[in-house]
Structure formats: structure tokens, C-alpha cells
């Protein structure tokens, strides 16, 4: 079964890749992956809790 990948998915915020398995024009299976990681949770650790809003608000 042929597999297609659409990367980047545009008109959204964030980096997204979609892979799909296509059989006779029908999608049989699909996988989505976010292709960007920053580790905001790790960055937030041990900080002043009052600052959390600024760190965690972003998408």
C-alpha cells in the first residue's frame, strides 16, 4: 500500500506532519506527528510559580 506524507501542514500554528496509507484512493491508516519540541515543562521546573502563565501560555 502506498504511503503518502504531507509535511508541513500549513495554515495551522505549529509544525505538523501527516502520513497516510492509501489504498485505491481510500485512506486506510494515518499517523500525525508534531515535528517540533521545546520542553516547556522541563523549562518550567523550579521556577517562581507566578511566572508560569508566561511560560506555559504558548502553543
Amino acid at each position: 500500500m502506498p504511503k503518502i506524507a504531507i509535511d508541513p501542514i500549513t495554515r495551522i500554528e505549529g509544525h505538523l506532519r501527516i502520513e497516510a496509507q492509501v489504498d485505491a484512493g481510500q485512506v486506510k491508516d494515518a499517523w500525525a506527528s508534531g515535528t517540533m519540541f521545546r520542553g516547556i515543562e522541563l523549562i518550567l521546573k523550579n521556577r517562581d510559580p507566578r511566572d508560569a502563565w508566561a511560560f506555559a501560555q504558548r502553543i
Binding site: A5, I6, D7, P8, I9, T10, R11, I12, E13, G14, H15, R17, T35, M36, F37, R38, G39, I40, L42, I43, R47, D48, R50, D51, A54, F55, R58, I59
Partner: protein, 360 residues
């Protein structure tokens, strides 16, 4: 997107922008860039002839905040002019094509307009583990940046993340995130730090390039002086309260209601250089300090680490208003020994008028 023919003015006229609005825009730009008398006419003359430059916009470890800022130019006419100044050939968040077609638009520009196009970078570039923490079209951000910025006429790093790694680069920097200046060497680069950067400063930079054929003058950190040459604290409308020792002590107290100085609440205006008090935000309606919250220092180097905790007041207020630019300020920072408000108030009495360092 994609139409790159005709001068900027022609294309604006076709879209119904009046001569009057066009001249208003040129005056706004001349004021933003602090150009001497005749600046607006010079800008108008240049934009009447200049072809639209092609721009590609790269998003890496970003949150789209600078895109939001870009798409929210001050008023409909200005917004139209800003979008019309440029032929935006690639921008993931707003472009119609996706996948391979999108990537083709990008690499067509790199190939066919080598050395002639502009790049805006938004977001940091992760270097750890072979750059796997940010990929687009299966390619690592660092490889894309090297190729696309390396072949451009100039690169504009927009926002804190593209400047010095910003929030992804904050301790412990899990992904080895850096800004463009540390990721790609030997390119023509200007930095517009901030979280986000103000679209007025992006427009000003591009208009300067179109009018004078060069990027605006910068400080030692690669930031244009027209936008980052003044300290927030020196242009702040609450400054009189600071000087008089009238401080907000608790959120919502009498002083807060009366608009007193936010220094004790952690305002980082005394250590931050950006033109927020003059250019403001949200259609020019307000800016953080006017809205009643301290400046969090978003244009300062590594501000997520150096300016936090945001609500803790800065122990030392370096530079009693004598420094005109961030470069001199750096020296003042090292030399500053005064702690507390009393010392500061005495020193203020001997404050000298800062000399204008703006480009003339």
C-alpha cells in the same frame, strides 16, 4: 502571495490606497525611523519606484506570536501597506499550499532569487541531537536556516527566540536551542528581539532597506537603534511617579489605581531597551505598563532567565538615565553599585541629559 511585479506604490494604488494614506504611512515610517526633515518624502520617492521584495518567513521553535504581531499592523491601511510592501512567497501559517508544494515555493525562491530575497525567521533553532527537535518537510531547522538564510540578501530574526533562543533556550535548554546569530554564520542579519517584536519595527526595517539600500544602524547586539535605542524606563509615562518615589506596593492598592510606578512589583523597564512606550500595542491603544503590569523585559538578552522572577523587583537600578544606548548601558550595569531607592533618588539629581544616538 507570489506576485512580484510592479512597484509597491503601483500595487497599492490598484488596491485603492489613496495618495493621502500612502503619505501618512511614509510619515509614520519616517517618525519611527527618527529620520530628519524630508524623510517621509524620501521614503515615498523610494517606494514609488522600488519593486516588491520577495520575502520568505521561516517558523522554527516558535509560538506564532510574531506572525500574530505581523498580521496585526496598526490600522487597516497600514496593514494593507505592510502586506503589500512584500511579496510573501512562503509562510507556513498563512500560505495555501501544503506539503511538497509548500516546500517547492520556498526552494524556488532560494534557487531563482539567490541573493535578492529577504528572510524573516521566527522561533529558535535546536542544535541538540542532530536538530531532531524541529523539522519541516523532514529537514532539520538548522539545515533549512543555513540554506535559506545563507542565500538571502538579508535575514531578519524576529522575536526573542530567533534572536537568542528565547524560551526554548531558557534553562535547562532541553533541545540546545539557539538564535539565528549563533546557528548560521556569515550572513547579513538584523535582530528584532521582543516577545513578540512589534510589526512597526519590522516594517521600519524593511522600509529603511528599500529607501536607503541598507539595513538600519544597530547596537552591538545587532538590534536597530531606532527601535532598541531607548530604555523603556526613560520613556515611561509612570516615570514621574518613580522619580517621586510613588510606588505600587500590592496589586490593586491605591497607588495601582492611581497609575503609580510598578518598579516594586517587578517592572523590568529600567533594564529594557525597546520603543514600546512610543509605538505601543494593539492598534496603538496601550502597552503593558500603561495597562498596569510591569514590563517583563522581553527585549533583553536571555530574558526568560535574566528577567525572572518577573514579579521580583530588580535589586539594582543601573544607569541613572545617563545612558543613551544599550551599549553604554552594559558598561553602566557593571559599574552600578547603588542599591535601593534612596541612593537612586540622590543620583537622579545629578542625572545628565542623554545624548541622541539615533541615526541622523
Amino acid at each position: 502571495m507570489g506576485e512580484a511585479s510592479g512597484s509597491i506604490y503601483d500595487s497599492l494604488r490598484k488596491k485603492g490606497v489613496s495618495r493621502r494614506d500612502f503619505m501618512k504611512f511614509c510619515s509614520l515610517m519616517a517618525a519611527t525611523l527618527a529620520l530628519p526633515v524630508g524623510g517621509a518624502a524620501k521614503i515615498a520617492e523610494a517606494l514609488e519606484k522600488a519593486p516588491k521584495p520577495t520575502l520568505v518567513w521561516l517558523e522554527f521553535q516558535d509560538c506564532c506570536g510574531n506572525t500574530e504581531s505581523f498580521l496585526r499592523a496598526n490600522d487597516p491601511t497600514v496593514a494593507q501597506i505592510v502586506l503589500d510592501l512584500l511579496s510573501v512567497d512562503y509562510h507556513e501559517t498563512i500560505m495555501a499550499p501544503a506539503g511538497k508544494q509548500a516546500e517547492k515555493s520556498l526552494y524556488d525562491v532560494v534557487k531563482n532569487q539567490k541573493g535578492k530575497y529577504l528572510v524573516v525567521v521566527e522561533g529558535a533553532i535546536p542544535l541538540k541531537d542532530g536538530g531532531v527537535y524541529c523539522t519541516v518537510g523532514g529537514r532539520a531547522a538548522i539545515d533549512i536556516a543555513k540554506e535559506v538564510c545563507g542565500n538571502a540578501m538579508a535575514t531578519i530574526a524576529m522575536g526573542a527566540c530567533a534572536w537568542d533562543g528565547g524560551i526554548p533556550g531558557a534553562a535547562p535548554n532541553p533541545t540546545g536551542a539557539v538564535g539565528v546569530k549563533d546557528a548560521v554564520k556569515d550572513i547579513t542579519l538584523i535582530n528584532l528581539p521582543g516577545c513578540p517584536a512589534n510589526v512597526v519595527n519590522l516594517t521600519g526595517t524593511i522600509v529603511h532597506l528599500l529607501t536607503f539600500g541598507s539595513l538600519p544602524l544597530t547596537d552591538s547586539m545587532g538590534r536597530p537603534l531606532f527601535a532598541y535605542g531607548h530604555r523603556i524606563h526613560d520613556d515611561c509615562e509612570r516615570r514621574a511617579h518613580y522619580d517621586a518615589g510613588r510606588f505600587v506596593q500590592i496589586w490593586g492598592d491605591e497607588g495601582h489605581k492611581k497609575g503609580w510606578c510598578l518598579y516594586q512589583m517587578g517592572c523590568k523597564g529600567p533594564e529594557t531597551f525597546k520603543n514600546c512606550p512610543a509605538q505601543r500595542w494593539n492598534q496603538g491603544t496601550s502597552w503593558p505598563v500603561e495597562a498596569g503590569h510591569g514590563c517583563i523585559g522581553c527585549a533583553a538578552p536571555h530574558f526568560w532567565d535574566t528577567m525572572t522572577p518577573f514579579y521580583k523587583r530588580i535589586e539594582q537600578v543601573p544607569g541613572f538615565g545617563v545612558e543613551a544606548t544599550a551599549d553604554k548601558f552594559g558598561a553602566g550595569l557593571a559599574a552600578a553599585t547603588a542599591a535601593g531607592l534612596i541612593v537612586h533618588r540622590i543620583a537622579r539629581a545629578s542625572k545628565k541629559k542623554s545624548s541622541e544616538e539615533e541615526e541622523k
